[in-house]
Amino acid sequence: MLNSNSHDRYIQIEHTGDKGIKVFGNSVKELFINAAYGMFDIMVDISNLNQNLSETIEVAADNYEELLVTWLTELNYIFISENKIFNKFEISRLKNFELSGIAIGDHFDSRKREIFSEIKAVTYHELYVEQKNEKWEAQIIFDI
């Protein structure tokens, strides 16, 4: 189960020009879920979001780092192109660097919710996905 406290899921790291997050998880799946949560949480107010729509996402890459960037880029693209925001994520399959999952949330309404920052892109700069003891950790820097 996910931790309810967002600080257990991710922390924001100090970066002069842009924004970055360090993400934690008990499994790779949880790590990817928490990274998606962290990205939307620094981008827009996702508290008390009606969970009345979902999007299916399927992405693949050559390694965990690229898969993480691709997964987050895909979610950001749905926000940009369809104006949808999410605060719940489920991953049904993550094997051989292929991921199938769903994102659950609502349409973004700028009159009701504050947007914190536009994420231009998910970068590869100082990106890592690592297993530390039994836990997983990743770092992602976004271009703002």
Binding site: S117, A121, T123, Y124, I144
Partner: protein, 480 residues
Amino acid sequence: MSAIKLKKITNYLWEIPKQGGMRVPGRIYATEKMLDSIMSDNAPQQVMNVAHLPGIIGYSLAMPDIHWGYGFSIGGVAAFDLDEGIISPGGVGYDINCGVRLLKTPLYRDEIKDRIKPLIDLLYTSIPTGVGSKGELRISIRELKKVLINGARWAVENGFGQSKDLDHIEENGLMKGADPTILSDRALERGRPQLGTLGSGNHFLEIQVVDKIFDKESANALGLNENQITLTIHTGSRGFGYQVCDDSIKKMLKASEKYNIYLPDKQLCCAPIKSPEGKEYMAAMACAINYAFANRQVISHWAHEALEKALELRPGSLNLDVIYEVAHNIAKQESHSLGGSRRKLLVHRKGATRAFGPGSRELPSDYRELGQPVLIPGDMGRYSYVLLGTANAMSDTFGSTCHGAGRLLSRHKAIKKAKGRSIFRELADKGIYVRSTGKRTMAEEMPEAYKNVTDVVDAVSGAGISRKVVRLRPLGTIKG
């Protein structure tokens, strides 16, 4: 604090000696006072990383507004040999051809000082701003492709501004070699609704007054007098550019492996300039460069209309001239003198501005003797500067200089610092009226989040790579 050791070259120039896999030394332009903050983040390491890339010529350079970016630092300049060298989307950035346009009006401060508020309000409703802002222009994909090939020329041909505007834009507002057929559907879809939008973050449109003249003769040559009103536009290629960069980085990661290029940071992924992957990026980047040129031309036209309307003037009766327009996220092939001979190089400028000196053939005829105007916006509360490129810039920095103030505080720290304060009111108290879509943007972009642009400009002028002409003070701003 960084453990990197610097060697002092002059009061304004510091060298990171060649070490490890670096092919050339790093060089940072700064005053001693600025070094503490420069050395406190990862930007100097990024200067060293760029020095590892194949075919780099001379030095991996950084301007005084250097700060931590991704791949290249912001404020990074690097030139590459066309045969041995590489091209890297990380040396241009996501906001391809982010840049600045300066317009002069025939108005003076006294004529306009009581009308700033309605003018800014009208500009704010006339020009779409904010995250993911969409424009009034609804163009088809077919029309968009014409924009991508023809840049600002497309805008002029479609009634936005005048053809004389083109003379005062870098590359005359049209980058050759653009090929829209290689772009992803996503790039085209993201580009279509955003032409003629300012965007968010540090992008802005500002009404300013000429506040101080450093060089009267040059100011006269540019047609700028004390108390004259100017208008600055700072924006780029919007979501279109971000998508072009994103698509290119995926391809470049594969290309770096294919060509066996060692990358100290994956975001520096690149390909040899003359490889199919390198050529493809050049053609895609040119599309985004042209998009940004057209974007600023369209916004400029709308700002012109709003200005006339707010001042109750007949449409077309107010003469607005483009002083110049610069790109500060770009890679271009240029000829430079190296060891007594001219050589074509590929120069990356990421958060750095071209600053060609007097006599450069690339400059419009009316500026050829003067040198290239360089436009350096500061933060919302302080100043902006107009500089000129110099012969020193040509010999020392591949004709490059700084691009702005450069961030000092992370956005996170800025928000903490702004807690409980009204940045809008603080600026209003200084006589600057600001309209912005978000309170948070205002906090992130507050003046204290930036280095003092005057320090940055003094450093490039002290180093002789630009010279000061005039200082501009903001009166009103619209922000994303």
